[in-house]
Amino acid sequence: MTTIGYITLEYWEVAASALFFVLASGLALLFEVGLARSMAWVAVRMVTQLLLVGLVLKFIFQATSGLVTLAAASVMALMAMREIMRRQRRPLKGPWRWLPGSVSLLTIGGLALLFALLVVLRPEPWYSPRLLLPIFGMILGNSMNGITLGLNAITNAIVRERNAVEARLLLGFSRWRAIRPFAAEALRTALTPIMNAMAATGIISLPGMMTGQILAGVPPVEAVKYQLMIMFLIAGVVGLSSLLAMILTIDRLTDERHRLRPDRLHTS
């Protein structure tokens, strides 16, 4: 069954695509790799999760209501905020545990999303969930990674390179100047994945979103334009949000007397 260049799949066709996976699982069982059970389990999980997401998205897209879209976006943002908090090896104590990551994720990610919708894409209505949710998802996922990497790198530096930072403070540098080389290194760490992705894209790998659009019948050059827009958006958000999260963290890890305050970190 075909529409304009786009082949819809029947459920039996999807099931047929599992043939190779079933073969692999069978071999795993035969050679007692000890993976057969978990292979079956992840397959069941994947099918359930994706079918559920499909149903949820179907509902949200049909509703095309600002409120429903906002609720969905909020759930996504909350999950990303929680993930940033969970993935920090040396989080700040108290509410600062989630403040820097959440504030930068929401402000920078939110601004970039609004920019993409209101200035670049201009859909009707502007909050069209079919565009808003996938774009917000890509922004959140990448920004979350950048922030996590940046925060881990900067708190690591302040604990492990404490002597070097304090040597700079002792020479009369301000707290910002004292930490700058370590912050620059942390920002490099935060930006490395997205920079690598930008460099490799189109040569080593075709981006998943672009592949998806091409499969869906979008002309390749149109898919490329979308991909470029997304990559620029993501790279900008990763850079700005990890920088903001690091600035907020450094502000908390130093005080107005220009001294380091590692006592404001959880030690483990």
Binding site: E161, R162, N163, A164, V165, E166, A167, R168, L169, L170, L171, G172, F173, S174, P181, F182, D255, R257, H258, R259, L260, R261
Partner: protein, 216 residues
Amino acid sequence: MLQVRDLARPPMLKPASFTLPEGTCGVIMGASGSGKSLLARAIVDLDPNEGTVRWRDHVREATPAPHWRRLIAYVPAETGWWAADVATHFPADAPARAHMEDWITTLGLKPDILARQVSHLSTGERQRLALVRALIMAPEMLILDEPTGALDAASRDRVETLMRELLNEGRTLLLITHDAAQARRLGQHFWRLEAGRLTPASPPEPEPANHAEPPA
């Protein structure tokens, strides 16, 4: 003069008060773990602390911390280095950079040491370089924490020579050491720190002659 009043960092450092006249060398003696480095860190405001410190007519609490640390330089026993090469740590625009070569020579370091990598330096070389690094910022007073701890006798004498030069120039030194002979050679005012409590002390007695003691 340096005026320290009730400087404390509970619970490790009990309130300490002392006065050190300008241009003199004060010595703080005490066993490891008695809180000597904590006291030095408190004077330069590197840890949260209580009490007041004045240097000449500067009140620490009213002076921005970076400015305060340029007046009073603290050279820890083991300091950090933030770049791989030595030269980066000696910026060309440092206020007393012009005297750097003299200090490097006085301390017995090779003139090409700036071209080397920090990781290739010995502990003793790093310790002396840290002193030069502090000096090029032109501080009025220096707190030296075990400045000869990692040095052989010859290098130790060179550091002491530099310290005397600094005193002759009118600079004030606060020396933290557990080397009684060194304290006797350089010190004019003495304190002892025991379990976080600072008390005035008399100059350390010369060691009995049968102890191998380098000549003063």
